[in-house]
């Protein structure tokens, strides 16, 4: 099988070096770039993200990357969001009372977690649905989370029976929140697979297999 070509979107978001290396370790040929042609032609696109929701959306908008991401999704070309790169696919993020519009691929709001200790930092368990491709073989592993905000209410309403509903994986810190979504070409994870040791590497390899 030919090596899958993956682009990690380079838009000035924190430490993306680990994402590149972890994807390479999982078997991909990886390039860190914001070149639109490469972003569009890659077998898979990874959207990383750390820091504030508003600043991530601002940086992606400035680069014109939201349009490329949207086109890839519309064309059925795989995209994987990580951490804030997961959160931006929901309708909005609310941080410090400020609402920022997201890409709106899924309904729902990213809001502050309700827990005794915040940020939610460390290795937590997940509850993937049956037939999850991302979590195949690693259903009982722990993954590394670091975030203070999350989607605590999944509001996707399947009104058309012919439609395949997205697969949602939950985790809990104080309250349950969405840890991952698999929805056709678009997948997103709240945790950091690139920092989740062997389990994370396996998840990335599982994603590469779907490309």
């Amino acid at each position: 099988m030919a090596q899958k070509k993956v682009v990690v979107l380079d838009y000035g978001s924190g430490n993306v070096r680990s994402a590149v290396r972890a994807l390479e370790a999982a078997g991909a040929e990886v390039e860190l770039t914001a070149d639109p042609e490469k972003v569009m032609s890659a077998d898979g696109l990874v959207v990383p993200g750390v820091g504030a929701y508003a600043s991530v959306m601002q940086q992606l908008t400035k680069l014109g990357a939201l349009r490329w991401i949207g086109r890839r999704i519309a064309g059925g070309q795989p995209v994987l969001g990580i951490c804030v790169g997961h959160q931006i696919f929901f309708e909005q993020g609310v941080e410090h009372g400020v609402k920022t519009a997201g890409m709106g691929e899924w309904p729902g709001s990213v809001e502050r977690l309700q827990a005794d200790v915040i940020p939610h930092m460390g290795w937590n368990t997940v509850r993937p649905p049956q037939n999850s491709k991302l979590f195949a073989g690693i259903e009982d592993e722990r993954f590394y989370f670091v975030h203070s905000y999350g989607v605590q209410k999944w509001e996707f309403d399947v009104t058309q029976p012919a439609m395949t509903p997205p697969q949602v994986t939950w985790s809990t810190h104080g309250t349950p929140f969405v840890a991952a979504v698999e929805n056709g070409a678009l997948s997103a994870v709240q945790f950091h697979p690139e920092k989740s040791g062997d389990a994370g590497k396996r998840l990335l390899a599982n994603w590469l297999e779907t490309l």
Binding site: V117, G122, S196, G197, K201
Partner: protein, 256 residues
């Protein structure tokens, strides 16, 4: 279904070498931080912390290189501390592969640097390293005083008040190190952990005093979310991380 208690080995790095040494059998080069990071990762460490004890700034380049090489091979979170003074320092560490930076003296000297760093990179990136000691000074309500320079200099500041302020300014975690307990192997300073836990909501990493696996569960009971140690891992048997995790698990807390 809760987040696991993190067990974090700490490596002191001087000019690209681990100082204090280690006791791993069959280790080709006991002083190579990358090799050690790899070993601790395989042994089940949940995160790694490098403390750069390098004196000169020219030697600091070597530390960046160590961080770079480690981050390329070891896919667990990596925190680097020592000599972090500005947002620029944090930026350089992140660019070289660190996930978090820890700050100590520079934040005591100029607390606003916490805001500057976390507004730019997010709270998750900054760990406040707090070295505290017991004091009988009546002006320090908690009885714990902030120290700098590895515990040699007192500051007259209350450790609990400082932890609270740092959390409000944006640090994502607090590494609480007891200067009195450090090196004693008599166990953690539980009162200190309780005092800080009562006032802050950010994750708390307990450090100082661990001598055996049984020392760890009381620190968690006192409110620590993570435990950090150096010598018990460097000089103990090579399955010490597993032993510590077993002790924590036996006490009823989740571990990875």
């Amino acid at each position: 279904m809760t987040v696991a208690i993190r067990v974090i080995p700490c490596l002191d790095v001087d000019n690209g070498r681990v100082v204090k040494g280690v006791n791993f059998e069959g280790l080709r080069d006991a002083g190579d931080p990358v090799e050690l990071a790899r070993r601790y990762n395989l042994a089940g460490a949940d995160e790694l912390t490098f403390l750069d004890v390098t004196a000169s700034s020219s030697d600091r380049e070597t530390t960046y290189e160590v961080v770079r090489h480690t981050a390329e091979e070891v896919f667990i979170p990596l925190t680097v501390g020592g000599g972090v003074r500005t947002a620029e320092d944090v930026d350089r560490l992140l660019r070289n592969g660190a996930d978090k930076a820890s700050i100590n003296t520079a934040a005591v000297a100029r607390p606003k640097v916490i805001n500057e760093i976390t507004e730019r990179f997010g709270s998750q990136v900054l760990v406040l390293s707090l070295d505290a000691r017991r004091t009988s000074d009546p002006s320090i309500a908690s009885g714990f005083e902030v120290t700098t320079h590895g515990g040699r200099k007192g500051t007259g500041t209350c450790a609990v008040a400082w932890a609270k302020e740092a959390a409000e300014r944006g640090v994502g975690e607090i590494l609480l190190n007891s200067i009195d307990a450090d090196g004693t192997k008599d166990g953690f300073d539980l009162e200190m952990i309780r005092a800080v836990r009562a006032e802050v909501k950010v994750p708390l990493i307990a450090s100082g005093g661990a001598g055996k696996p049984e020392d760890f569960p009381p620190a968690i009971e006192a409110g620590a979310d993570a435990v950090l140690a150096a010598s018990i891992f460097h000089f103990g048997p090579k399955d010490m991380i597993a032993q510590v995790k077993q002790a924590i698990r036996d006490a009823g807390y989740p571990v990875r």
